[in-house]
Symmetry: D2
Subunit: 412 residues, 4 copies
């Protein structure tokens, strides 16, 4: 593939500049499907807690591409023989496109709608789209190859691990980016050092053992971001209100309710029959407009929940111990006395995360563990050397809260 | 007024934390009109040039409030007698609410629609709104007082100058904030030093003369931000496409065209008859949804322009000298040959700004000049001492470009 | 005490500005003893590893003062009744002066010379010094009170804990400052949040429990700084060379060796009989000059070690397991074969630190543990709630290295 | 030349990491002459005003090397034919060594001692030094070539202009570095953008015209750093005291005064007969020690001035207009009445700088102007396009102050 005559840059607050050298990458960025990612926020409803968190999947996708570009460029500059040089473009494309299938507030809504953004990414890459046409100019099987990297079925696996492992370009970008835009400074770590100490090694990406503490710091940042940002109970409250809205709308659709506002592709979405073209029409502007319109629906549950979301009148929360169950009988009674349906106004919610999953022999790991490469060429899984990392494996984050409308129900 | 029992904070990337101590401010932030500012971007279409620039008027409004709070707190701590202590709450409220009337992409659209966001801010403050109800709890005339500060008719004028002069909380916040979110570092200046050297002095806010160079640096940041960000030709191109969309829609409305998508308050907006309630329904999600829907309108001009905006297929630009006129006859001929209406596909656009306006005796100044206070109590207008500031007064920024669709018209 | 008519500021890279409001503090800063701290580096020989680490005890001392000032100012602003307001000046003075007794490269040299900088701080505060005269203007017993805070014998103990506990102004400043000047970014944590959540509570400084994760992050920063900076083996190598120099000079002094360069107070220092006036003469310029002069001493051990230090020809290191002993017989033989005295050219060095010490009932704790204050007023020691903190208590940092001159001895 | 097997890095707060790939550069850094630069501060006595400004010439020299390395690497990556690739090593060496000849507080003392650090740099490169031996391993004439670049006599001139022009690696590093360590944020500019837009063009380094505003911003940073930092009157006061000390010592030497402390190479230095070996012995530790010792000299002028410097009892200053002369008769009388010699206790000092010198035809320029390269290949000197830059050329910085000991003389 040829290089661009003059390299193009994007100004980026996290990486200073993002450099584009390949016409392929430039063309992918300019497709309408990739431009649509400007209308999907990176952190869903987190902007209701951290007002700076308005950044888009578009900026994150460019960031993942840029980190991947830097890693590969380092591998090439040093001529590491374990790096399959011919995988460069497929890796860069997959890095750029890995989030292509994200829908509006997808992390919040996916559990309700049983959609999966990675499947959608692949459908959009393989379907009748501008992205597909651009990729096919490389070769007929290039879209399939890019989709396989995203689906984690690609061989050689090293290409997958650049974008999707426990120390990958995706996670490194979103930690730095989410920290920057929320304004919390927990997400920072020494990206330059980690990139410099990455090595391709027998089909894996590993880290020189002198980088162990930099990786510890990265994992601790991840832990802190989970607790401070991703699992923030106010954000969670807004996600629950949003889920309830979607649940209610799906139910009303099933019941044949006559929506005042039901612009396509809302019916298809609520019925789970979206085509790719319809899916692309779904962005956060559209969903936010639907929510605003539904504030005027006659159905009292739908309209009330939508007003709560729009005007940020979220549910209140009280912490629960992991094994604690609230007094459901009393809660449901209070709810009904207030004229509210408990199915839409009460939720006991558990959030659970393991900031790092060590390798356990005999188990099939969901995520590739992080290996350290010592001078003799030996590999050690990081939690074997680091007590700090072990503490992250053995004490998962587990938060449980009860959410309810404090303006309608008094809990004590 | 009472203080909050425990002060509330917002995490903010620019000011680290924003502190709320007054129940009044807390209640204003929680009104639906103020929450709506989350759905209006601070920099309009600039996100199409700088992908980080997704930040909202909500975050900027909190920032202006915070800077105002710090200035007043410094005045109170030092017990400056020229500061009218009883104006604290009206200043804080006006700082918070000064942008309440901003509509979607208002800086781009206002010239076409003859709307004015400051007038709308006052209408919303004085009308039947939650904001008005919260303000009236202070006193019956409190909404009028806040509106007067925003309209710059308030007495004492010193309250106005905190929020609206050439060195005010509004400008200081947006320079820092826009620099942060775009990622350019030109907008930085020493906010702490300027705040520390501000003094209330005989009805004016002035700066101790030892702060002259810090003010120079602030004015140079302003100059750089105009050139690098606010007047960026790619952003301007997107604004022009947006203006053309609105112009076309207004024309079609007048012509009785049967829009496929014309949800209220679109008709009222295009006809210029919006009520406050209708105005509040206008946010950027709504307008972006309208543009997405209009991509499917039968009118070829409207649908083409909307697709250009949505998928970022903007107009190309060529620079012109300030006094240069393009060859209109040839351009219009080329345009028509391509089947395009020149009224919607050509624009010669001039941008003009004076980063700082010195005081000229005999003229009525639009903007209050910046005065330096020397140790003897004398005042000097800053451009009299600083050659750098003089260069900003005497050489205004003037940029002229021709915009046209390069995919349809070849200019040579 | 009166306040300064106009508050004074110091520009500081870590805290932006350091504010001085009390004439007492201003006068203390201007004493010759405090000015001497400009000639003592904060991080000793670390500049030989991290070239930015040239910052002085002077800047750190101002930083500790500033953090203490902010904490107290927050306590006063909120009117917390558990804060003894009359202790303000003694705390500020002790914060400023706590490192007054540091000598050149004191952390490296103290173990050899059996000096103790805290004892010297007290001697200088109580002796015939400018600092003592300034303090005595407050009251006759004021120097004793300040010294008692530094010696940790002061009552009420809350004054001590501000400056000397496991979450004190001293540690918070040096982590941020050392991170800034070395350029590593591990030392950052959310200072503003921790300060905001500090509370005086029944004679202790505690943290609101909502600040638990911010404290975790602070403790992890501390852990990372130990590993990456404070215990860096290159720095340690330079410290060992320096210790060997001092040991050799002490030995030569005892042996009646005729030094070519032995300016006072070198003899007194090497004999351990320094008066306060002599001690004040010791700064890093002086010691560095002595080392440069000693490069020309006839004693081959002293001159060689001094050249190694001056020209940064340090000892090489090889890591050892904590329980591993090198083959001393072989090493000493190799050393002697190279014509070197093993006592000055070999060292097996162990570094040990516990980033956080939890409270163990029945033990007398060296350091006050960190307590979290829940809403009901209950206190919990932080390691009881946090697995991450527990990992820091239970897995101390322990590093062992062998140091030797690789230019003279080949280890295989 | 071969590359290092594994590239070496230095952690640097300004550039994050400094990369060394050539054994030559690595060996030069490890010479004793280059290590000596650790003992020379970058900003002389500025640490007495900005306590963070303790950074050394060592760190600045590495920074200039790193910027030069990045520029050349960009030129090579893009294969610009106007770049003479064979000059890489000579440029990198000259960048690293350009300040090798700096003595203690050289900017302050040079005017008094008529020394010139650039001449000394060349003497040390060409003389009997480790640096010379390392350079000669490249080729016999390599030391001469490196010295010629530093002396600005090298051909091709483009090699000189990388390190020494009005937009060179030297200035770009020191602005960023001095801003970082003092903590002022005026010195920041977009280094990455300037480096990306630099082009070798017909024997010159020029900037693509799209970088004009980034260069404006760089020049404004330079202007602000002059005013806020380099010309700070407190720093200037310390420089004047230092100059008086040196003048007095030179005079006493001439007069045959019997110094109590006069360690070599002090006599040679005061008499201006230093050899290279003696020169290398001069560092700031040594001079600071001499000043501390001279506090005990019987000569009252020398000892008083030395105490003033050591304990920071500097001269007071009053601003003068550029054309204003103080009332010398009165001042000298007051001085003598206080028992002080006016030659050592009074100074009317003028500081003058032009932040940017435009090209004036017919004049021989001291500094190469900055040219912008337009798309057609034309060159324009930047002050022709930029009013802001013109204001910097036409309004030079000129500051005049009277310095005097306010503790002895009352000026009314």
């Amino acid at each position: 593939m040829k290089r661009l005559e003059e390299e193009k840059v994007f100004k980026d607050p996290v990486h200073k500049y993002i450099y584009v050298q390949d016409p392929l990458i430039w063309d992918l960025i300019n497709t309408r499907e990739f431009q649509r990612l400007r209308r999907i926020r990176q952190l869903g409803t987190s902007y209701l807690t951290f007002h700076g968190a308005e950044h888009s999947r578009f900026s994150h996708s460019l960031g993942v591409y840029e980190i991947t570009r830097r890693i590969i460029s380092q591998f090439e500059r040093n001529g590491y023989t374990d790096w399959p040089a011919e995988e460069r473009l497929v890796c860069l494309s997959a890095a750029l496109l890995h989030d292509l299938g994200h829908g509006p507030f997808s992390h919040s809504i996916e559990p309700v709608m049983r959609m999966n953004h990675e499947q959608w990414s692949c459908r959009l890459i393989l379907g009748d789209t501008e992205v597909n046409r651009v990729l096919r100019e490389v070769s007929d099987d290039f879209p399939e190859r890019v989709a396989a990297v995203i689906a984690k079925t690609y061989e050689p696996e090293i290409a997958v691990s650049l974008i999707s492992s426990q120390l990958d370009a995706d996670r490194m970008d979103y930690l730095l980016r989410d920290a920057y835009f929320t304004g919390v400074n927990y997400g920072t770590f020494d990206l330059d050092r980690i990139l410099r100490l990455m090595r391709p090694h027998r089909g894996r990406i590993v880290i020189k053992s002198s980088g162990m503490h930099a990786v510890e710091d990265y994992l601790m940042s991840r832990y802190q971001m989970y607790i401070q940002v991703y699992f923030h109970p106010v954000t969670r409250s807004s996600e629950i209100v949003l889920q309830k809205i979607v649940r209610r709308a799906v139910q009303l659709m099933r019941d044949g309710y006559a929506f005042r506002f039901l612009l396509p592709p809302l019916p298809q979405w609520l019925q789970g029959t979206l085509t790719e073209a319809e899916y692309l029409r779904l962005d956060e502007s559209f969903l936010q407009t639907a929510i605003a319109e539904w504030c005027g629906e006659p159905d009292p549950v739908l309209s009330d929940l939508c007003r709560r979301f729009l005007h940020r009148r979220l549910f209140q929360y009280v912490p629960l111990r992991p094994d604690e169950e609230p007094d459901w009988d009393k809660l449901r009674r209070l709810c009904r006395e207030a004229g509210l349906d408990p199915a839409y106004y009460l939720e006991a919610d558990t959030l659970y995360a393991v900031p790092y999953e060590a390798y356990r022999p005999g188990e099939r790991n969901r995520r590739l563990p992080i290996f350290l490469l010592d001078q003799g060429g030996g590999l050690t899984e990081i939690s074997e050397c680091s007590a700090v990392v072990r503490s992250l494996c053995t004490a998962p984050i587990e938060l449980k809260h009860l959410y309810y409308p404090a303006d309608r129900i008094a809990l004590a």
